[in-house]
């Protein structure tokens, strides 16, 4: 049996399942993923390019090892293996130059595989990484002192709506 762990966004295409088991014994990672695509076709194009290559910023872990090499899909799969599909996280560094739960290598942050931490700790940390990615802040220059709301509206959409906009919440 093979276990495939996937992250938050991809569960939109698996009926909400983050842990998927494959009862058969696929020989390679590619075989296992092919079975995943058959079960949940929507995952495929999010993980693979149209050339059948793993997208550059998607990481595939086989148990504890991050498999990012050309022969990834041909990598042999021992029985009872665990495959984890995660987005890589570029940026979001702290002041020491390391990520919150991973390490930057060649500009990519490799997150820790599920088995390396207790499940609840892993989930919490992984979510932090995903949150930090989706909400990553950009550099904001200080507001010039003489560029104030004489010319510009209030500084946020929420406040803005009270002055200039009407908001229809759904």
């Amino acid at each position: 049996m093979i276990t495939i762990n996937i992250s938050g966004f991809l569960t939109d295409f698996t009926g909400g399942r983050s842990v998927i088991t494959i009862d058969a014994s696929p020989a390679t990672i590619g075989d296992a993923l092919s079975q995943l695509w058959q079960m949940y076709p929507g995952v495929r194009d999010r993980v693979l390019t149209e050339r059948g290559e793993i997208r550059r910023h998607v990481n595939i872990f086989l148990d504890d090892e991050n498999i990012r090499r050309k022969e990834l899909l041909e990598t042999e799969l021992p029985e009872s293996s665990e495959i984890t599909i995660l987005p890589s996280v570029s940026g979001g560094l702290n002041s020491e130059g390391t990520s919150r739960i991973g390490t930057i290598v060649n500009g990519l942050m490799f997150t820790l595989p599920r088995k390396s931490l207790p499940g609840d700790v892993y989930d919490a940390l992984s979510q932090r990484v995903l949150d930090s990615n989706s909400n990553r802040t950009r550099y904001e220059a200080p507001a010039p002192a003489n560029l104030t709301n004489e010319l510009l509206p209030q500084p946020s959409i929420t406040e803005h709506t009270t002055h200039h906009l009407k908001s229809n919440k759904s």
Partner: protein, 375 residues
């Protein structure tokens, strides 16, 4: 995830379609174009490089180019002004399996000729053109351009090797111009079967002095034309501002009196084929508005002279960048003109640029502003 608001729009209302690096927004107003309702963010966290509102054949269909560095790019549509968006199980824009490349980003969506109300075009990175003849249900690569012998020599500009502009000739459905950074302008006169470079007179500043006018390879940032005179085109280059009066066969420098001929944004007045708007940037090394003044420049004589438009725009400490799809007009009279900045500010004019209003700030970096007048 953020709370998502929605807009309503009735006949004759104006809707701004604003794509940012972290989602899409819609702004709705009546014909006065002074008070705006905001909707979004849609696709929070995703870069929305292109938006369009297809109202042909009675449709009310928004299209969005949704780009993620992790999960790839696809086209999504909405039939209800953004309340619901499609999330296709299989991505709809794909290179054929035997192609030597894969999709990086979707940069542009455009409607086809008026005689073909189910036709859409899509420009992508790496530079290629896709076509749909069933209103976006299916798409196919335009092989005539993809197989062009110049393609292996096209090089990526700062934003990538993208096909970013698609101009369908309204008077000749066989003719189309496209622009590629960095490849230049290409034209087809046979519905996309064959394409020819159309860059005579356009400078490639980044090449050695004796090679600055190549057949192709220019970094064209934007081209526009007016429906009433599609053989006249205007071009904002990576250094250089040009006009063609012969369907892009030749180009003439028209940077007469602008503070810089470097820039991205370029738009034509829908009511006057001689009136064009640009937002010059200081240089390729310092891509901000010159003198820290946010000024739109307008010509009313097809580039013979230019005048700054600054009423209502910040004239101090305005270090702004407006990108190639960051400016758009609405087709009303007087024309509404709108632009967004990389600092997330959205400005609008309801009098063809004579005066400006700040519509929003605090948005993510704006990469696309399109307009739609509700039928």
């Amino acid at each position: 995830m953020p709370e998502i608001n929605h807009v309503d729009a009735n006949s004759d209302d104006v809707v701004l379609l604003v794509g940012t690096m972290k989602g899409a927004f819609l702004f709705s107003s009546n014909k006065a174009r002074t008070d705006w309702t905001v909707g979004g963010p849609y696709f929070p966290g995703r870069a929305i490089y292109a938006l369009i509102h297809d109202q042909r054949k009675g449709r009310n269909r928004l299209w969005a180019a949704v780009n993620s560095p992790h999960w790839g790019s696809y086209l999504s549509s909405s039939e209800d002004l953004g309340r619901k968006w499609t999330e296709p199980e299989a991505y709809n824009i794909k290179f054929p399996e035997n192609a030597d490349t894969s999709l990086k980003q979707i940069w542009q969506i455009e409607e086809g000729h008026a005689d073909d109300p189910d036709t859409l075009f899509c420009g992508v990175e790496p530079a290629a053109l896709f076509r749909s003849d069933d209103a976006g249900e299916s798409w196919s690569l335009v092989n005539g351009l993809f197989d062009h012998p110049h393609r292996p020599q096209w090089q990526p500009g700062g934003g990538g090797l993208c096909l970013h502009t698609i101009l369908q000739d309204p008077t000749n459905k066989q003719r189309m111009h496209i622009a590629i950074s960095t490849g230049g302008v290409y034209r087809t006169d046979d519905g996309g079967k064959t394409w020819n470079a159309r860059n005579v007179g356009v400078r490639a500043q980044f090449l050695p002095p004796d090679q600055r006018y190549p057949e192709f390879g220019q970094c064209v940032h934007k081209i526009v034309s007016h429906p009433s005179n599609p053989s006249r085109l205007f071009l904002q280059n990576h250094w250089g501002l040009y006009r063609s009066d012969d369907g892009a066969d030749t180009w003439t420098d028209i940077a007469n009196g602008v503070p810089s001929d470097f820039g991205f944004a370029l738009e034509i007045d829908p009511n006057d084929a001689d009136t064009v708007f640009i937002v010059p940037l200081e240089s390729d090394e310092f891509r901000c508005t010159p003198e820290a003044k946010l000024r739109v420049y307008r010509t009313r004589n097809a580039g013979e002279s230019w005048e700054p438009l600054e009423n209502g725009l910040p004239q101090e400490n305005a270090f702004e960048t407006i990108l190639r799809d960051g400016m758009s007009s609405d087709g009303l009279n007087p024309a509404g003109l709108y632009f967004g900045t990389r600092n997330g500010k959205l400005f609008g004019s309801n009098d063809a640029g004579e005066s400006w209003q700040a519509i929003a700030e605090g948005l993510p970096p704006i990469v696309c502003v399109k307009t739609s007048v509700i039928i």
